[in-house]
């Protein structure tokens, strides 16, 4: 069956176009997200990122990757039979094995929804080599041949600007289009 994969981005800001379809990944994507009011999508060939105040302050990043795509820092891989907890472990091991993620501290690790799907939620803090501190809330799930993730990253320096509610809305609106 010929695959028909697509992306629909609903935008509400003057900066971004109204509707966008097509694929922006090396691999085409088949999920749908809504761009929150006053947030802008950052154009990129490889990521779907949205931000309000600039990505060094806070951003939401959505990724879709094939299950068999190798990671950069761990040789662990996803497989189809994994529970969400086991998938979370692979993600955490990838991050913890990255030498540039310093002072990594896991705050939370548990089951959670991503859209209507069962997945996991991990919350962690870390510092960059320049000493900048960040907090990340990371939701992920395995479905079919793909791993999907939606993460919110915020600089601890700008925690007064945090947009947790916005992130929750993005999570709840996340949909996978069956192909």
């Amino acid at each position: 069956m010929k695959k028909f994969l697509w992306l629909l981005v609903v935008t509400t800001t003057a900066c971004a176009p109204g509707i966008q379809t097509g694929s922006f990944y090396d691999n085409p994507v088949n999920y749908r997200v809504e761009l929150p009011a006053q947030w802008v999508r950052v154009e990129s060939a490889k990521h779907y990122m949205m931000t309000k105040d600039g990505p060094f302050t806070q951003y939401i990043l959505i990724q879709q990757r094939p299950l068999d795509k190798p990671f950069k820092h761990t040789k662990k891989v996803f497989n189809k039979g994994m529970l969400p907890q086991e998938a979370a472990e692979v993600v955490l091991d990838e991050i913890a094995s990255d030498r540039f993620v310093m002072n990594f501290h896991l705050v939370e690790n548990g089951p959670a929804k991503l859209g209507q799907y069962d997945g996991f939620r991990v919350v962690f803090t870390y510092k960059t080599k320049k000493g900048k501190a960040y907090k990340t809330i990371y939701h992920g799930l395995l479905k079919g041949d793909w791993f999907y993730s939606v993460r919110y990253n915020v600089s601890e320096k700008h925690d007064s600007l945090t947009a947790f509610e916005t992130f929750e809305k993005v999570l709840s609106n996340f949909k996978i289009e069956e192909v």
């Binding site: 950052v42 086991e86 548990g110 089951p111 080599k129």
Partner: protein, 385 residues
């Protein structure tokens, strides 16, 4: 998924969003040697502070004292005026070591865990000490700065690298010339022999490095990666030994004390190997640890994890045996209960899964993955118990 890749992306995007234009700046005049030295030392101090505050430092005062005592023993009395190098250990399973220009030697747990005795450790430390004592970083500053990225590119991208954290340590490792590396090998070997250690053990060190390179298929700038070819280094060592060390002479090995001091580190490094998915290295580490301490539940648990990840369904009986052995040795150790619970849960053996998960929660009620376990218990209840 990669944090660094994401950060690079963010940086580029920030520049685009800002819409800023970058003015081309003329490069400053090359600083005199004094300025270069100060600059290098300042950067080394910053890098040291960064590593010490990164959460990567392996903190074991007893081990640190031991490693620094070996350095002191190796340090030649003729240059006592120079500051004694200091050794620190980094939690990183990759086989690596490097010295900063201020004399601080960082050794990865990965290389310490592979060594067999103090003579091999001495060969490793002596190599780094020669880089420091012969001031290689200062002597070849241009190469040191530009080796990895090319002269123009390195200057152009220095700001980017700094922001991304691609740091000084990497430049240190990539910066020495092959001549300097050979010098560090040969003069280091002389230090080892003069101190009474058996220099033939340096060859074993290189063999460890070679095996590691082959096993993990390194592509990075590591201790051996940018050095002259390992076979050539072994050849240089053999020539030195033939000329300076009688065949029937016995040197110091200090195997027992070395293994005693590094035993716990071997297990910690095995967990790091497991996290990194380096299963063959993890297995070698776990087996080495079990040779040293046969009754540690953690080692059997980790063997189970290694075979679960690397062996698949065919190895499941062996996996269960390791977990059960871990529980037999230490019934209060929670991890194997969870591991057994997951196997039964995925196999639909709900009652066995329930028992194992309940034991896990009883032993570790505050564990971070508690909500997953509670969810499994609900499913077990619903599905059949």
């Amino acid at each position: 998924m990669s944090m660094i890749k994401s950060q690079a992306f963010i940086l580029i995007i920030s520049l685009l969003i800002g819409g800023c234009t970058t003015a081309r700046q003329s490069l400053p005049e090359a600083p005199d040697l004094k300025g270069v030295e100060i600059s290098l030392l300042e950067r080394a101090e910053r890098e040291q502070a960064l590593l010490e505050q990164s959460g990567f430092l392996y903190e074991d005062q007893n081990l640190d004292d031991y490693l620094n005592a070996v350095v002191k023993r190796l340090h030649p009395p003729t240059i006592q005026s120079q500051t004694l190098p200091i050794v620190k250990v980094i939690k990183d399973p990759r086989v690596n070591a490097f010295v900063l220009p201020n004399g601080v030697i960082f050794v990865h747990t990965g290389i310490l865990a592979r060594l067999d005795n103090e003579a091999q450790l001495a060969a490793l430390l002596a190599h780094e000490m020669i880089h420091y004592m012969n001031r290689h970083a200062f002597k070849d500053f241009d190469r040191f700065e530009n080796r990895r990225f090319g002269e123009g590119a390195q200057r152009r991208f220095q700001g980017l690298l700094d922001r991304l954290g691609a740091g000084f340590a990497m430049v240190v490792m990539a910066g020495y010339s092959q001549t300097q590396e050979t010098e560090a090998d040969i003069e280091g070997l002389a230090l080892v022999a003069n101190t009474g250690y058996d220099p033939r053990e340096a060859i074993r060190l290189f063999e460890h490095l070679k095996r590691e390179a082959e096993t993990e298929k390194y592509r990075e700038y590591l201790f051996f990666g940018i050095h002259p070819r390992i076979d050539k280094r072994i050849e240089n060592c053999e020539t030195f030994i033939k000329e300076h060390w009688p065949a029937d002479k016995k040197g110091i090995l200090n195997r027992r004390i070395f293994l005693e001091k590094t035993r716990e580190l071997v297990l910690v490094n095995t967990f790091l190997d497991l996290k990194a998915g380096r299963y063959r290295s993890a297995q070698m580490g776990a087996e080495k640890y079990l040779d040293l301490k046969k009754d540690d539940a953690r080692a059997y648990y980790i063997m189970g994890e290694i075979f679960k990840h690397s062996g698949g369904a065919a190895e499941m009986d062996k996996v269960m045996e390791f977990y059960e052995k871990a529980i037999f040795i230490n019934p209060m150790y929670p991890e194997p209960y969870k591991a057994i619970g997951l196997i039964h849960y995925k196999g639909g053996a709900w009652d066995l899964a329930k028992q194992a998960f309940e034991s896990y929660l009883t032993l570790s009620p505050q564990i971070t993955d508690r909500d997953y376990i509670l969810g499994y218990l609900k499913s077990c209840q619903r599905e059949g118990v």
